[in-house]
């Protein structure tokens, strides 16, 4: 495993990224074609290019296309967000759903649904604010205690628990707060309308571009606080800025997908192993890998027990849980950046 990882660092990441790109395209195509009704690529192309009549066109436009877009968008946003959070906090166990970023966004979305059900376009912004609150809380705790990695994760779990309890409390009082979400608490991507995805897209795109443009800074941050600062990096504002962008990504994803776990944890870990820690290829790999993984999991969720559907969060957790446990066993007493 080790030599395999190292040889890929040496070889350069271009072929790997190419393969990931192809995998993402393939999974998107499969996601458009397969489901309760199978469609041919030709039918899909026709539907996308403007043919409006017929059942096939209806399925493509109102079910498959929004769902596939949602998978690609949420997968890449959560994976990149996880990679950034792990790098900035120097903590391999940090991820949006573990340190409370996702549940912070979730609480904001739930409150939004309870108080202003009509303001759909505002949901991604509210989710961003909730995610940001969680990330700042964790950052504050980490700086106050100059916390060990374990303390930081524990603090994150506490923050996550508090926000999740908030979600439950709101839903108890306003049962309709989360109507329109198939499975908010475990994450689901069925029955999404394009109108819900588009506002999130406009949050995710700029945040993603900014993060990619800061890849050089992220690289230097990985050298440790002292070295980074001696190289002229303003470490504190940069940390804050990067975490804010990560919160924007996770928040926007949660605003339409619900509390999807594990994408933000597993994908960055797989990519670190495959690509190494050079930030630009790593982030690109996370964006592609996250999109492909979530799309494929969603496909499984649709097909495994057809015509019944599992929420995609269930499939992800069933696959992600064992992986996470394996990681914990391996990481026992390990270093920050393996």
């Amino acid at each position: 495993m080790k030599s395999w990882r190292i040889s890929s660092i040496r070889r350069g990441s271009a072929p790997l990224l190419g393969a990931l790109g192809a995998l993402t395209l393939l999974s998107a195509l499969l996601s458009m074609c397969l489901g309760a009704v199978s469609l041919s690529p030709g039918e899909i192309a026709a539907a996308l290019l403007g043919e409006t009549g017929g059942t096939a066109a209806q399925i493509v436009r109102y079910a498959r296309l929004p769902r596939t877009c949602a998978c690609l968008l949420a997968g890449s946003a959560l994976a990149v967000s996880g990679a950034v959070i792990q790098s900035v906090l120097g903590n391999p166990l940090a991820a949006p759903n573990i340190i409370g970023v996702s549940s912070g966004a979730g609480l904001a979305v739930t409150l939004c649904g309870a108080l202003a059900p009509a303001a759909g376009a505002l949901t991604p912004l509210a989710a961003f604010a909730g995610a940001l609150a969680a990330v700042l809380l964790v950052l504050f705790i980490s700086e106050k205690t100059s916390a060990s990695r374990l303390t930081l994760v524990l603090a994150g779990v506490a923050v996550s628990g508090m926000f999740s309890a908030g979600v439950d409390a709101v839903v108890t009082f306003v049962p309709d707060a989360l109507t329109g979400y198939s499975d908010f608490r475990i994450g689901g991507l069925a029955n999404l309308a394009m109108a819900r995805i588009v506002p999130a897209f406009w949050v995710i795109l700029p945040a993603m571009l900014l993060i990619f443009s800061l890849a050089g800074e992220l690289d230097v941050l990985l050298l440790g606080e002292d070295t980074a600062r001696s190289l002229g990096l303003r470490a504190r504002p940069l940390r804050l800025g990067l975490l804010t962008l990560a919160a924007a990504l996770a928040g926007a994803a949660v605003s339409f997908s619900g509390l999807l776990g594990f994408v933000g944890l597993i994908v960055p870990h797989i990519m670190r192993r495959l690509i190494g820690e050079d930030s630009l290829p790593l982030l690109a790999g996370c964006a592609l890998g996250g999109a492909a993984l979530l799309t494929l999991c969603d496909l499984l969720a649709r097909l495994l027990f057809a015509p019944y559907e599992l929420p995609v969060g269930v499939v992800l957790s069933l696959a992600g849980g064992p992986f996470f446990i394996w990681l914990l066993l391996r990481q026992r007493g390990g270093r920050v950046h393996d």
Partner: protein
Amino acid sequence: MIELKSLSAGYGGRDVLHGVSLAFKPGRVLALLGPNGCGKSTLLRAALGLTPKSGGEVLMDGAPMEALSPRERALKAAYLSQSRPVPSITARRMVLHGRFPHLSYPRRYRQEDQEAVDRALQWADAADLAHRPMGELSGGQRQKVYLAMALAQDTPTLLMDEPTTFLDVGHQLEVMAVARRLAAEGRAVVMVLHDLPLALRGADDAALLCHGRLLICGTAEEVYASGQLDRVFGVALRRVETESGRQYYYG
């Protein structure tokens, strides 16, 4: 040139460094000596503004340090930290990070940066390591890569905190030779060292710290002659003239 004027600094309200005045002179190798915990590392960190000062002043080319941006400071002095994480990237990529302060956002490495990296790798005798992942290197090899990164920064002053730990005797002497070559180019080199014979033989000047105060600073010869080293470290340091110059040993 970096000058410290009665500089005090510490952590959490407790001073570790008390009123130290010292200049890092161009063209000289200065060895920073003293027992563990006497404030050597704090001195280097405070000189760069990495640890906030509680009194006194740091002048960089005559200007107070606070007047300079972090990037301007990074163009004046490079720093080899004692904590050296090992990200899984190649050694060459690592050294390239030394060019960071020479670029502005968004960072695109230019031809001259690549050339500076090649030069630095040569100087640090790490050219053969360039394409190997950091995680695969031994402690001593990683040390060379970190040294190359500091060299790639291409600054008039270099501050190195224990650059010879993890290195065998041969490589320790090589680091000292690199320091001498840098000084010959007119740069100021400051090294925290624990090996007194190596320091006295290789450095032009020496500064001895004890309990956060500067006891003596002068040429290596003067510091040896003062007898303070014997007192502070509780050893008997002796010297012998040999064909290849002066050698120091513990008597």
